[in-house]
Symmetry: D3
Amino acid sequence: MNNHIALFPGSFDPITIGHIDIINRSIDLFDKIIIAVGVNAQKKNYFTLEMRLKWLHEIFQVHEKIEITNYEGLTVNFCKEKNAQFILRGLRNTIDFEYEKTIAALNRSVEDSIETIFVMTAPEYSHINSTIVRELIRYKGKFDHLVPACVMRDAMQQ
Amino acid sequence: MNNHIALFPGSFDPITIGHIDIINRSIDLFDKIIIAVGVNAQKKNYFTLEMRLKWLHEIFQVHEKIEITNYEGLTVNFCKEKNAQFILRGLRNTIDFEYEKTIAALNRSVEDSIETIFVMTAPEYSHINSTIVRELIRYKGKFDHLVPACVMRDAMQQ
Amino acid sequence: MNNHIALFPGSFDPITIGHIDIINRSIDLFDKIIIAVGVNAQKKNYFTLEMRLKWLHEIFQVHEKIEITNYEGLTVNFCKEKNAQFILRGLRNTIDFEYEKTIAALNRSVEDSIETIFVMTAPEYSHINSTIVRELIRYKGKFDHLVPACVMRDAMQQ
Amino acid sequence: MNNHIALFPGSFDPITIGHIDIINRSIDLFDKIIIAVGVNAQKKNYFTLEMRLKWLHEIFQVHEKIEITNYEGLTVNFCKEKNAQFILRGLRNTIDFEYEKTIAALNRSVEDSIETIFVMTAPEYSHINSTIVRELIRYKGKFDHLVPACVMRDAMQQ
Amino acid sequence: MNNHIALFPGSFDPITIGHIDIINRSIDLFDKIIIAVGVNAQKKNYFTLEMRLKWLHEIFQVHEKIEITNYEGLTVNFCKEKNAQFILRGLRNTIDFEYEKTIAALNRSVEDSIETIFVMTAPEYSHINSTIVRELIRYKGKFDHLVPACVMRDAMQQ
Amino acid sequence: MNNHIALFPGSFDPITIGHIDIINRSIDLFDKIIIAVGVNAQKKNYFTLEMRLKWLHEIFQVHEKIEITNYEGLTVNFCKEKNAQFILRGLRNTIDFEYEKTIAALNRSVEDSIETIFVMTAPEYSHINSTIVRELIRYKGKFDHLVPACVMRDAMQQ
């Protein structure tokens, strides 16, 4: 039987409760979700890859259906390598929508066996994004309501 | 084990190749898709419920995983009645997106065990909608590239 | 001294907790908010004007700064009649935005002494609109989390 | 040599200075612009077809390159009848854009020899639409800054 | 009594007539507007902070209700420091809207005593932004219709 | 007689089949289309100016009505230099729309004799953009369906 494996790609710099909500709400739909930290040599990240992976492992260690990894290169290529037929993405607003519509169409034009599946970010989390969380961390703002406890703990020690 | 049953609600007045594309692209994800023709006493349809159901049966008779039915009332209530944990919807553009975001959030606030799952309409079908197909039928325009063959056949005889 | 009087126009058919949130969040900014139920002979409402006004009075009776009334005709004309220099509106999504941008520009072109002031609907209420509440009432869905208690009480008795 | 003929379809109920701006700004691009008042038996108009045509004739009588007419049925069919290779449309906001993108793609799928050409409505006219002008006329608001003088003159006498 | 103090944050690099329009149209609503030039060590500006502050002082010196300053760090923190209960922002288009909706929700989640108040940019100014003004300055384009006279005078001497 | 000359500006880094579609669909409207590669000293391109120009010459050598060139500075200034009364642009989605609306309005405010003319990108090409093509080239993904053959040939040799 064909397993339903979804890749959930992102930079998770850092992971927010918005990301976790997307996973929780779609976990029932898949046999496995592979959370894949994309590594792009041309982008500078705020937190190290190690730190970002450590947080993901700490948060999702109890989930039997979740695998955590990192990758470089094209997302569809990594999907094939991991035997993932689906890409999972959340949608927050029309900017997300236009961007994701473009990427999903492009990915299908490159590899039509892979389908992108979307869930809407819950309204109460739709204003959360990693860019703004980093800004709050940088300027010592309150951000404990936006990230899981482990990110809170480690980000404050920096 | 929990089956993955999705409800695909709509008026299908008439069904277009855009609807069929949504189903084909997400059928692998579910154990069953229930295509549910919504009946709303306050809306006047162009084609009869019988015709719309007949077309759906003709198109999807070879699909073991597809069930066809009709319903009245709230979509989430019908989901519970049919034991469907998911609602399936396509997204074409930002107008669709804003509407569907609202409906999905509302449905979750009414019944949080039901999740709405979205796929992007393929770009080459993103301009197809039933309203415009009806307009083409009414004014004798070309529409055979927008609907399945059975709709073409029957709509021309009207 | 010039008082800051804002008109908050709408059909309030019925009032939702989204409307109440808009008022609560902007009440500090004004000396008075006039909640004005617009009456349009060409639109059929679900609840009677009397019922809608009764609810508003019941909800806001403790607010010294709130006045409740109804009006017909152009909103800017009623603003002048009531000496309101501001129109208050909430924004939920890009559809609201494009509509309100048009109306605000038009109102200013008709009467440039009146300015429209916007607040963003809180994310957790951004999916609430009266159309959908009426649908839930009509089909006996759960809606107590979307409207104030008095609407809940009276709407269920219908 | 191939003439450049554009059809500018609309209901013009009534014509506004926004419509006139679109024509003025694109007239250099075409050999002829056919302003075509669409007649739809299922839509009720505010002003009679005769009145709407009369206004168009009065406004554009000095333009050698402008023809005024009315039509029923599909716009692309009327284009072929009039030998118009182009449809001309204005864009005001994202709602217009999503609607026009759909219609343009559909028209091309029905008749690929006809291309829709767009110009952006000037920012200072982007809030003007016929629906709101009718509302202002109905409720005796100021609207002389939104319509040409002949509409002003006749609409006030109603 | 509680004063109505609004912070109007921005980089004002340079200030445009769009910014001035936002202030003029909302000045009646507040007892004081603090125009606050945000300083971000990670962003390179075109004009020096001194120049940008000089222009603001020159333009608004006659306004008793306007204070001009600069700040670093989180906007909500600076609001508390300045005792400003409101943040004032203009909205030009749906891109602005989605961005501002996110920031306003985030600011409220960090500090719920501060509310963001929006006015729509006037249609005739909705195409003006500082990025494009800088481009015009850089390439010797006409920009005197986009900025106040003092910016014109000084920018040309660079 | 006044010739209809349109400038089609872009970075064409690289040219895609989306660009070619825009040109093919609007070529009938103009006497000449000048494809103008914008050179911006502050932006780093992926392909050299020479390569980008070579591709354009190779693709459009059979078109009598097409001229290929490059420019620096303001687009409207280059239009005047080339005697082009029109700027030609394609629209893919609402992000494009809001950006292009701003630029078109600005260009008209700087030089009102130049009008920007838009065509909608065909739905089947609306997901193609040069940024993503470069990403596919960089990571050895399939991109031959997105670019003309000459770009394919040369890009793979890099």
